[in-house]
Symmetry: C2
Subunit: 229 residues, 2 copies
């Protein structure tokens, strides 16, 4: 080890001690670690601070340091396939279009590409347990997903992940509306039925990787979101 970084060594030692332990299990006290590693207490505290801010440990003044209960996590950025899998539902989809279209002004701005250049367009009718649930139009910067249209993946988000473009950030808009006749026909609902419109702009780092517009059947889909602040 070229650079020792004692606080890292201590941190990883404690992490390995603690991983798999039940919440509430006592971690070594700061002074124990001082003795064991022969370091100053500030160094131990630096190590434990990291684990506390990671949510691995909790400190209670006067009592000690303990394994923290797993944190609640906000819902991440997931695609339809994942979301359905999480609910234990068999998701499937039928591709209605997979082509390239010149980007209109709004789309171009959202995708951060020049207006008028062709972008990848993929339209799918998605089903859950065999029943139509939603209609998705996904738009992507063709330079980021070469070959996508030639071999369409099962899950767009898995494919993006494989390209190192897994969205880590999404801006979503949700609104209730009524189905257009075309949407109604595809979703097999009466024209004018209530639908949930969902627009998404998904980013990986600073790059916009997907802009999508989805229409969900109001009677067949509920969106769940966990928020934190």
């Amino acid at each position: 080890m070229s650079r020792s970084l004692k606080h890292v060594a201590i941190r990883e030692y404690v992490r390995s001690l603690v991983e798999g332990s039940a919440p509430g299990t006592a971690a070594p006290s700061e002074r124990d670690l001082v003795d064991r590693f022969g370091v100053a207490r500030m160094t131990v505290r630096q190590a434990l601070d990291a684990l506390v801010s990671e949510g691995v440990l909790e400190r209670f003044p006067g009592r000690g340091t303990f394994v923290a209960a797993p944190r609640r996590t906000a819902s991440g950025v997931t695609g339809f396939s994942e979301e359905m899998a999480r609910r234990g539902i068999v998701a499937d989809s039928r591709t209605l279009a997979a082509d390239q279209l010149p980007a209109g002004e709004n789309l171009a701005r959202a995708l951060q590409v020049p207006a008028g250049i062709p972008v990848v367009h993929w339209r799918r009718l998605r089903t859950a347990d065999g029943r139509p649930v939603c209609l998705t139009d996904a738009y992507l910067d063709r330079t980021r997903v070469p070959g996508l249209l030639e071999s369409l993946p099962t899950s767009l988000y898995d494919d993006l992940a494989a390209r190192g473009l897994r969205p880590s950030w999404a801006e979503d808009m949700l609104a209730a509306a009524t189905a257009t006749p075309e949407e109604a026909a595809l979703l097999e609902v009466p024209s004018g039925a209530a639908v949930l419109r969902h627009h998404r702009r998904a980013l990986a780092g600073d790059a916009v990787v997907e802009v999508s517009r989805t229409v969900y059947r109001g009677d067949a889909y509920t969106l769940n979101v966990q928020l934190c602040s």
Copy 2:
């Protein structure tokens, strides 16, 4: 000041220095702060550590400490008043009911209270720029919000914050549906118009502080969400 907490004083001093500064602006160096406050360097570092982990400052070894570019933040847990204010819209509301009702089974479970005990119920018709936008039924554990019904606040979330119960976590469900005749009348839309149903369970720490059901006019409201993972 009964307890000085030097690192807090230093942290807030730096925060006030820095707030409003452009990203990239240099913050005082650690040794400057040592001189200014007459403290040890570890104390200064403790103060700056907090601002760094808050995302206010960034450190660059060998260069210095600088104001960080604003982080992308996921949308927090906000109430309607805040949300409208953020959009620059004048929000108002009319109380339709403010009473206590025995909790049904589902509501009791969601609120973590025994079934059948009375819970606070507050129904409001909310308007934006004078037009009806949504109808909200909020349910709260009466023991957590004594006096709420006697003097109804303008903003529920502000009131909760004042009680130390600001929600920091919410589980939301969203679905499109059609308005019931009663909802339609209050929202001033035709019966059967598309509406967005929004159920929320808001928590502060481990305590459920609010369970609410909101019906938004589909033509008057779009929900925006930012997600990260």
